[in-house]
Amino acid sequence: MPCKVLVLAEHEGGAVAGITYELLGMAHRVAGEMGWAPAEIKALLIGSGIAGAAAEIAARGAAEVIVAEGPAVQGYTGDAWHRVVEAVAKSESPEMVLFGHTPNGWDVAPLVAAGLGVPLATECSAIARESGAFRFSRKAFNGKFVQVIDLGTARPLLATMQKGAAPAFSAATRGRVRPVPAGVGEADLRARFVEIKKGQAGAVDLTQAAIIVSGGRGLGGADKFAVIRDLAQALGGQVGASRPVTDMGWLPHEHQVGSSGVTVSPKLYIACGISGAIQHIVGMRGSGYIVAINKDAEAPIFGVADVGVVGDLFEIVPALTKAVKEAKG
């Protein structure tokens, strides 16, 4: 069967990563729109000890799971993986190859683009047909604008898709699993996977928090975090932060919420002085109830918040702390 959409599956030690099913969901959506057969949607799975993962993906969205296994691709390196993706893309000639906009998807996709000599759209949130062509939507200028990209007539079209761009494919399928030689020898490689390890150890685990009060660049300094801590304490919650805050050392890295920090889904998320760069939003938009406090009425954070206050956080936040304490008696 020919291939129209090829999805690069992701897994961790053989456990399929959720983004894989979202990519398959996107692939089915695109195929449906184009009248392509579901049988033309394939996934590429690279690694070792992945037989179970392959069967799972074949049962949930992929008509065929192409499995490239071997010692040279056991741990992720861009050097090894791009060779496999390029070889499979050449032999399958898909119209489109979808990658997750994940640390490794974003790492390997440009290598494949340069190898195949085709353009790539990164961090996309939607794919649509417009004027007879595929158009890829994404955020630019750190979320200030939505950019719509055309990639021209070269094939395959390459895109990395943001988490949440499409609902995970959930129907049952009866795909087949087809092993292919990885075609990469360890001696060919100029990169060697060493290990995956924990980052800086910290006592804070925001992923388990029911209430998070986060501060951003708008606070202006490490010494200003007291207002955030006070509110978090009054609510019995944890303190979170956006990337600039941890980059500037105002708080340790483990407090960082977002694509390069932790993804959180508390019942209550209060964002103070956070403009809402897409990298932050992807890490917190799954929260139950979102309150945003920012002086800029145009800040993208108000687009995802349930309730917002446009104003000076140094007035609003202490007033809120006081009101919370009163309410709790």
Binding site: G78, P103, D107, A113, T122, G199, S260, G288, K322, A323
Partner: protein
């Protein structure tokens, strides 16, 4: 060991961003520009290696219009040894793959062992140039470095940032291309002495014809990745905006939080 940092001039975050009249990019007239934040960390990583005596030379390269020379001067004042400015009107609107081809041509024969760049630029947020260049050079690469260590003259160990506070450790055989995440180090600022010294440092300007490249292949007109339009983001469901004195707003917030979440 010679090293290269790829840098970009981008609009400052606090600039007044407005769409241009055709709705395809932003209006540049009112913007202030500066060195891309991610690139400061890439430059610092190389300056640290130079301080440690492991890198002999740090060269900064940018592709951009005349105004982009200021970011090269920033790099020189901060400690880079010399700079290369690829400047050609035909390059405006080039796509990332074309820019990577231009950069490859501009550094041919330089023999850089370590090439670094920021993970992404703060304007387009593409995050492609580093790995594109690596592939064109047929050298290994790693993105989103949060740690970097030259093991010996032939290998660099990179700690790449993964999700959920984890790091993927990978060894690359030099020459290699590495892009860095912000927060990997604490970028230094240019000293007065550095600013004075920078005036004597070289900025070599090169045009497409100097590189033997044809605008029909790498210029704006050859771009295949094309911005169809740029627009303000949809407001989504949009937040209900509360107005009034701070204590009144606070009471309203408490009421809503109590109703919607039950955590108070």
């Amino acid at each position: 060991m010679k090293s290269l940092v790829l840098v970009k001039q981008v609009p400052s975050a606090d600039s007044p961003f407005r769409l241009n009249s055709s709705g395809t990019w932003i209006e540049e007239g009112n913007l202030t520009f500066g060195l891309n934040d991610y690139d400061r960390y890439a430059l610092e990583a190389l300056l640290k290696l130079k301080d440690a005596g492991k890198v002999a030379e740090v060269v900064a390269l940018t592709v951009g219009p005349e105004r982009a020379a200021t970011v090269l001067r920033t790099c020189l004042a901060t400690g880079a040894d010399r700079a290369i400015h690829v400047k050609d009107a035909a390059l405006e609107g080039s796509d990332p793959l074309s820019l990577a081809k231009v950069i490859k041509a501009a550094i041919q024969g330089e023999g850089f062992s370590l090439i670094m760049a920021g993970l992404q630029a703060d304007d387009d947020n593409y995050g492609q140039i580093g790995p594109l260049l690596a592939r064109l050079l047929d050298r290994p690469s790693a993105t989103a470095a949060m740690g970097l260590e030259l093991r010996d003259g032939t290998t660099v160990r990179v700690e790449r940032e993964m999700e959920n506070n984890r790091l993927l450790v990978v060894d690359l055989t030099l020459p290699a291309v590495i892009t860095v995440q912000t927060g990997i180090n604490e970028p230094r600022y240019a000293s007065l002495k550095g600013i004075m010294a920078a005036k004597k440092k070289e900025i070599r300007t090169v045009a497409l014809k100097d590189l033997g490249l044809d605008a029909a292949e790498v210029g704006g007109r050859a771009a295949r990745l094309r911005t169809v339009r740029l627009a303000s983001p949809p407001k989504g469901k949009g937040a209900e905006i509360l107005k009034g004195p701070a204590d009144e707003i606070a009471r309203e917030l408490v009421k809503r939080i109590r109703e919607k979440t039950g955590v108070i």
